[in-house]
C-alpha cells in the first residue's frame, strides 16, 4: 500500500516515469476497490488547497490577522467529528470551484431572461468568435502582450484583459460594452459576460434584450437599456441604470438555489443604482445612479433649429474632419472634468457611411488625473474647456481621424495667466507631416509645421511662422490656419486678420490620433488656457468660405475683427 501511495504522490506531482505510470494503472485495474481508492485520494488532493485556504481564512477572521505559516509541531490522531460542520462551511466560503460552477451553470441556462436563451449551435458558428473589440481608446489590451493570436476577437470562455484605456466590445447579438481599464471581462456567450473586475457601461439594442453581465456577487439582466457596472477588488459590485430598466440578482456566491437568488432580485429603472456587497455582512441598497462615474458615448444629435446660437454657421460642413464645440457632446466625470468630447463632424458626414454613434470619433482622456476641466462660462458666457498647463499635465487625444494633404483650422481659445514663458501646444494635427498651433509666449500665439519624408532631401523640414500680434491673457481669440502644399499656402490668421505666412513643408495626410492641449508625445508642452471650439476641414477653404467661417465664430463669441 505504502508503495502505491508513493506512486500516487508522484503522480499528482507530475513526476511519474512511464514504468511507474504503468504500475499505477495496473494496480487500479486489478480491483474495483483500488479505482475507488484512487478517486478518493485524488479528490482529497484537489480539495487540499481549498481546505487550506478555508483554514487560513477562518484563522484570520478569528484572530483578525493575516494568515501566517504555522509553527512546528506534529500531527497526531484523528480530528474531532464536531469540527465537520464548520469545515463544510469553510469549504463553501473559499471554494472558488463551487462559485465558478454555480455561476457557470446558472449563467448558461439564464433562467431569468425571457428573450435571451443562448442557442449553443448559433454561438459556436463563425469560427467560435462571439465578441470583438470594435474600438480602442488609448487602450492596452493585456492579451496582446503574451502573443495571443487574436487579441481583438474572442470566443466563449476567453477573457478581455485591459490594463488601461477603453475598449469597446461588441457581442454577436448586438450589445456593446465600453470596458474601462484596468478590467477583466470574460466572454460567456454571444449575449453575456462575466466582469471579474473593473468597470463597464453596456448599451443594449432591441436585438440583445436579455443581455447579461455576471459579477462575483451579482447578475444583471437587461430589459433594453444602458447601464453601468463596477466591480471592486473584493468582488463587490455596483449597478447604475442610465436608461431603461434592468433586473439585478444579488449574492450568487452564497445562494444555494436559483429560487433563493431570485428572491433577492431587485428591479432597477432609469437613474437608480444598487450596491451588492458580499462578505460577513450582506446588503443590497438603492441610491441615485451616478452616470458621471462611468464612461459613456454622448449622443451626437445636433438640434440646429432650436439651438442656432450654439451651432456655428460654418460653410461646407460635409467637408469637416473635426468639429469640437464645448457646449455639445461633452461627457464629464464627477469632478466636471472631460472624459470625452464628441467630434460633431461625424454628424455631418454623408449618410452612406452609415456610422453608429460608437463608430463616430471623439477626443478622450481616460486618465482621471489628466482630464481638463469643463467651465460652463469659460468665456463670452459660453462653455469652454480649461487646460491647466505643465502643473497639471492635462490634454485630450482624439480617436484616429483622417486628415487630407491640405487643411483649414480654426481654434477659439484664450491664454491663461502664467508666470513663466507659458509655452504650450494648443492643437497638434496631422500624419507624417504635423501642423501645430502653439502659445509661443505669454501673450503670443504661433504656428509651425514639420514633416519627415525619407524620399526627399532634406528629409526633415520645419517651417515656423513668426507671429508678432500679441493677444492679452484671458482674452478670447480665434487663431486660424490655411494650409496647402499644392497651392503653396501656409497662413496664420488672428481674429480674422492675416498675421503671418510662409511656405508649407509637406502633406498632412494621415489617419492619426490628434492632440489637444499638449505636444504630440503627450508628455510636454502643456497648454495653459481655454479652448471653446475647434474646427478642422479636410481641405483648404477658398478665401470666401474661410471668411464666412471666421465671421461665424467671431460673431458667436463676440470677437471683433482686428
Amino acid at each position: 500500500m505504502n508503495n502505491v501511495e508513493k506512486l500516487f504522490d508522484r503522480y499528482v506531482d507530475g513526476l511519474l516515469t512511464s514504468e511507474e505510470l504503468a504500475d499505477l494503472e495496473d494496480w487500479i485495474a486489478s480491483d474495483p476497490s483500488h479505482a475507488k481508492q484512487f478517486l478518493e485520494w485524488s479528490a482529497t488532493h484537489l480539495d487540499l488547497g481549498v481546505a487550506l485556504r478555508s483554514d487560513a481564512l477562518r484563522e484570520a477572521v478569528s484572530q483578525s490577522r493575516v494568515p501566517q505559516l504555522t509553527q512546528p509541531e506534529n500531527v497526531s490522531g484523528s480530528a474531532q467529528p464536531q469540527n465537520v460542520l464548520g469545515s463544510a462551511v469553510g469549504y463553501l466560503i473559499v471554494s472558488g470551484v463551487a462559485v465558478i460552477l454555480t455561476i457557470g451553470i446558472l449563467s448558461l441556462i439564464r433562467p431569468w431572461s425571457s428573450g435571451g436563451q443562448t442557442n449553443v449551435a448559433e454561438t459556436e458558428t463563425k469560427n467560435g468568435v462571439i465578441a470583438r473589440v470594435v474600438q480602442r481608446i488609448d487602450c492596452v489590451i493585456e492579451n496582446e502582450k503574451w502573443g495571443a493570436s487574436s487579441a481583438t476577437h474572442f470566443e466563449a470562455g476567453q477573457s478581455v484583459l485591459i490594463s488601461e484605456g477603453l475598449a469597446i466590445i461588441e457581442f454577436d447579438r448586438g450589445a456593446r460594452v465600453i470596458l474601462e481599464g484596468p478590467a477583466d471581462l470574460e466572454i460567456v456567450s454571444d449575449n453575456s459576460g462575466f466582469l471579474r473586475s473593473g468597470k463597464l457601461t453596456a448599451n443594449v439594442p432591441e436585438s440583445a434584450i436579455g443581455f447579461e453581465i455576471v459579477t462575483p456577487n451579482s447578475r444583471v439582466v437587461d430589459h433594453g437599456t444602458e447601464f453601468g457596472i463596477s466591480v471592486d477588488a473584493n468582488g463587490d459590485s455596483e449597478t447604475h441604470v442610465f436608461d431603461g430598466e434592468v433586473e439585478l440578482f444579488a449574492d450568487l456566491n452564497q445562494a444555494t438555489s436559483p429560487t433563493e437568488i431570485e428572491s433577492k432580485s431587485l428591479h432597477l429603472v432609469e437613474r437608480e443604482a444598487a450596491r451588492v456587497t458580499n462578505g460577513v455582512f450582506h446588503e443590497t441598497e438603492h441610491f441615485p445612479a451616478s452616470p458621471r462615474e462611468f464612461i459613456r458615448v454622448a449622443s451626437l444629435e445636433v438640434d440646429e433649429e432650436n439651438d442656432s446660437v450654439t451651432v456655428s454657421d460654418l460653410p461646407q460642413r460635409d467637408r469637416l474632419a473635426m468639429w469640437f464645440e464645448a457646449s455639445q457632446g461633452v461627457q464629464l466625470d464627477a469632478d466636471s472634468r472631460i472624459v470625452s468630447w464628441q467630434n460633431l463632424a461625424s454628424a455631418y458626414q454623408p449618410k452612406s457611411t452609415n456610422q453608429s454613434s460608437f463608430e463616430t470619433s471623439a477626443a478622450w482622456q481616460v486618465n482621471s488625473q489628466r482630464r481638463p476641466r469643463w467651465d460652463k462660462d469659460g468665456f463670452a458666457n459660453r462653455p469652454a474647456i480649461e487646460f491647466g498647463g505643465f502643473e497639471s499635465n492635462e490634454f485630450l487625444a482624439t480617436s484616429p481621424i483622417k486628415t487630407g494633404p491640405d487643411t483649414t483650422v480654426l481654434v477659439v481659445c484664450s491664454f491663461g495667466r502664467v508666470s513663466g514663458l507659458g509655452y504650450g501646444h494648443i492643437l497638434s494635427l496631422g500624419g507624417r507631416g504635423k501642423l501645430i498651433m502653439v502659445r509661443s509666449k505669454p501673450q503670443l500665439p504661433g504656428v509651425f509645421s514639420w514633416s519627415f519624408d525619407h524620399e526627399q532631401t532634406p528629409k526633415f523640414r520645419l517651417r515656423s511662422l513668426e507671429v508678432k500680434a500679441e493677444i492679452a491673457e484671458e482674452t478670447p481669440m480665434i487663431g486660424a490656419i490655411r494650409y496647402s502644399s499644392n497651392s503653396n499656402i501656409f497662413q496664420f490668421y488672428q481674429n480674422g486678420k492675416l498675421v503671418a505666412e510662409g511656405d508649407p513643408v509637406g502633406s498632412l495626410v494621415g489617419n492619426e490620433s490628434h492632440i489637444i492641449g499638449c505636444g504630440n508625445e503627450r508628455n510636454r508642452f502643456f497648454f495653459k488656457g481655454r479652448v471653446a471650439e475647434i474646427v478642422v476641414y479636410d481641405h483648404m477653404l477658398d478665401q470666401q468660405s474661410f471668411s464666412q467661417a471666421s465671421s461665424a465664430l467671431m460673431k458667436k463669441y463676440g470677437i471683433e475683427f482686428n
Binding site: 478517486l39 479528490a43 484537489l46 481546505a51 500531527v75 480530528a79 431569468w112 449553443v120
Partner: protein, 187 residues
C-alpha cells in the same frame, strides 16, 4: 401588467424551474465528477479548468438530458470526453492515463456515494487543522502558496528529495487522519 409581460413572466418561471432542477441535480453529481476529473488530470489547476468546462457543457446540453436516466453517469460521460480532449491538447504530457483506466475510474465514480465524498471533504478540513510543523509548512507552500517543489527546497535550504519525503509524509498523515475521522464518525 401587459399580455406580453404576463407571457414573459410565465416563460421566466418555467425556465427558473428547469434551472432549479439542474442546480439540485448538479449538487448531487458534482462530488463524483470532481473526483473523476481530479483522478485523471493530475495538475490541480488544469483539473479545475476541466471541471469548469464539464459544468459548462452540462448546463448547455441540459435540455438533451433524458430525465428517466440517472444524472451522475450522464455528467461523468461528458467529463470523460472533456478529459480525453484535455489529453489530446496535452499530448506531450507523459502522465496521461490509458482509455481502460479512464473507463475503470468512470465506472468507480458512478458507484461512489456522493455523501461519502462530501464527508471526506469535511474530514479533510478538520485534519488540515491538525497538521503541524515542517509538514504543515511544506503543505502550505505547495497547496496554499502554490510554490514548486524545487522552490520550496530552495527556500527551506534543503534538497528536493527531502521536500518530497516531507510532502509524502504529510499527505500520508492526512489520508490516515481522514480515514480515522470517517471511521469515528460512523461509530
Amino acid at each position: 401588467m401587459t399580455q406580453k409581460r404576463i407571457q414573459e413572466s410565465s416563460m421566466v418561471k418555467a425556465e427558473g424551474e428547469r434551472s432549479e432542477d439542474l442546480a439540485v441535480l448538479w449538487l448531487k453529481a458534482e462530488p463524483a465528477v470532481r473526483a473523476f476529473v481530479a483522478a485523471t488530470v493530475w495538475d490541480a489547476h488544469h483539473a479545475e479548468d476541466v471541471l469548469q468546462e464539464v459544468a459548462t457543457v452540462v448546463a448547455k446540453n441540459y435540455d438533451s438530458y433524458d430525465a428517466s436516466r440517472p444524472f451522475p453517469p450522464w455528467c461523468l460521460g461528458i467529463a470523460r470526453l472533456k478529459v480525453l480532449e484535455y489529453f489530446r491538447a496535452n499530448s506531450r504530457d507523459r502522465t496521461t492515463l490509458s482509455n481502460g483506466t479512464l473507463l475503470a475510474l468512470e465506472s468507480a465514480a458512478q458507484n461512489i456515494a456522493e455523501d461519502h465524498l462530501v464527508a471526506r471533504r469535511a474530514a479533510l478540513q478538520a485534519c488540515v487543522r491538525k497538521l503541524r510543523g515542517r509538514q504543515r509548512q511544506v503543505i502550505e507552500m505547495k497547496y496554499l502558496l502554490e510554490v514548486s517543489i524545487e522552490e520550496i527546497a530552495k527556500r527551506l535550504a534543503t534538497s528536493v528529495n527531502a521536500i518530497g519525503v516531507t510532502l509524502h509524509r504529510a499527505r500520508t498523515n492526512l489520508r490516515e487522519c481522514v480515514k480515522l475521522t470517517l471511521a469515528e464518525t460512523a461509530e
